[in-house]
Symmetry: C2
Subunit: 203 residues, 2 copies
């Protein structure tokens, strides 16, 4: 069985659980606390020298970090990836967009608002306006696409949608207001109504 | 012919030129200044609502932003991608690592040190220690891998190497010192000695 080294409330880890659940791939979960240095121990750095979850561990000892790479690997050849080469290029485009232009503001704002110790958050509070401006810009890019498309890559739900859903559907945790993005809100409902959907809190 | 909307000195755009050159794919280049708002005009936002280069434009009008997606699309089925599914997973792992854990510190530090107006840089100078700490951490992750591997994904040079080379080989521009990373330094030489290598400054 595959083992997922994860943090339950991390959107990046949730993406992997959701893909695995929708594809019927069982996962053994090893959970680490969101706050603290559990992914900086020598044991963890031996798994992933970059010190981050998720890490997917195979029975033969191989390990794969980076949620985008894990999503792509698990869903290769399945209905969660488009068939056409062009649509797969668009899928990766949105997955890189999420990691570079979305996650560093929307996920980071959520971490500091919801999980970090309040004293630590006080040192970061001056960054909230920048996180909100750049996160709202990313939501605006999504809104523009979703005004004329149901999904991000091709005509069907794919791992591009899952990658973007991970932190978008809980963006309110970081002080974002999705009511100004009606096409994004409608898309989150479409994602949540897919067969075998899994909630962030489900184990 | 394909058109690349680009900034000549951007490492993300350089990666695309290098891949295209090594695969013998001609590109028409449209260059934008690194400093300023040239990628925030209505015309540019119509190409890429995210307002960033590179953007690859096809003869039929389709456009593809995100260097990682462009590299993957151009090199699909070529010698610049590993054949095995596992090695391709590792390739994407390093490409996502580069965009999330490497570029935001090493490329950003280079931009502010080398290109931004000095008055603007003064407002950001307090961030230099964080950029250097996190950028050096990323170089350390690369060094650990390269101590026992020639290349990042599988046994051969691939777009994972090109993605990481883009900003690593010019990291000194941002105040980084590669002499403390001998395996990284040896790897940059290996990349530069590949057939049909192209310099960052070459048009």
């Amino acid at each position: 069985m595959l083992t997922l080294h994860q943090m339950q409330m991390s959107g990046n880890c949730y993406k992997v659980r959701l893909v695995a659940h929708q594809l019927g791939i069982p996962l053994r979960l090893i959970d680490y606390p969101v706050v603290g240095t559990a992914t900086r121990t020598p044991e963890f750095l031996n798994l992933n020298p970059n010190g981050k979850t998720p890490v997917l561990e195979f029975e033969d000892g191989r390990v794969l970090p980076e949620s985008g790479a894990i999503l792509s690997h698990l869903s290769d050849g399945t209905r969660l990836q488009p068939e056409s080469k062009w649509d797969r290029a668009c899928m990766l485009q949105w997955m890189f967009f999420e990691q570079y232009s979305h996650e560093p503001y929307i996920a980071v704002s959520r971490y500091w608002h919801k999980f970090a110790p309040l004293q630590e958050f006080e040192k970061k509070r001056h960054l909230v306006p920048e996180w909100h401006a750049k996160g709202n810009a990313a939501l605006g890019v999504m809104e523009a696409h979703l005004k004329s498309h149901d999904w991000f890559a091709g005509k069907d739900y794919s791992i591009a949608d899952i990658a973007l859903y991970g932190y978008t559907h809980c963006a309110a945790d970081g002080g974002f207001d999705l009511s100004g993005f009606p096409a994004v809100s409608a898309w989150t409902s479409r994602v949540a109504s897919q067969p075998r959907h899994l909630l962030l809190t489900a184990v």
